[in-house]
Symmetry: C2
DNA sequence: AGAAAATATTCCCGATCGGGAATATTTTTG
DNA sequence: CAAAAATATTCCCGATCGGGAATATTTTCT
């Protein structure tokens, strides 16, 4: 999906987490973050840290894509 | 591109900004952030806020996609 | 080469992130 | 429906984000 806002991002993360039948607590443990961060992130808190956010995204097997850039290949 | 890290994300943002021949200062004005944030973000600082990061991404005409999720259509 | 432009660093400081625990509330399950 | 499970809220507090200005450094342009 195209993500426009922290809220949408949080919703995508929550959706995926539920698909995987993982609790917020488990996800926090997997990512090495606190539960609080996961809750905040899923609710779309705009001030969450991008680094931790990326960790969560990857822990859920999601890919974070930037489109429209011609950056060099990874 | 697939973004794995804040560093890669920052690099993509910087690359795009230069393609558009925009200075960091201008970008900061456009996004309503401070210059400092832009500099930090482009250098891959992991603790930058996701909300401001998304603002920058959109200001640069980039699209930010979460792939692997079956979230409802936007 | 030198000047101008752009970027990076440093400073100050108010606001607040986020870890982790306790607890309240909501959701899920049998 | 009640209990269990999951999520959300609140608390404390050390660490630090980020605005904006000044300044140092690097890059770009002629």
């Amino acid at each position: 999906m195209i993500t426009q806002s922290p809220e949408q991002l949080g919703a995508a993360i929550r959706t995926r987490r539920k698909e995987l039948k993982v609790t917020q607590k488990d996800l926090a443990l997997t990512c090495g973050t606190g539960l609080r961060f996961i809750i905040d992130l899923e609710r779309g808190k705009a001030t969450c840290q991008i680094g931790k956010t990326l960790q969560v995204i990857h822990a859920l097997g999601l890919k974070f894509l930037i489109a429209g850039s011609s950056a060099p290949a990874d």
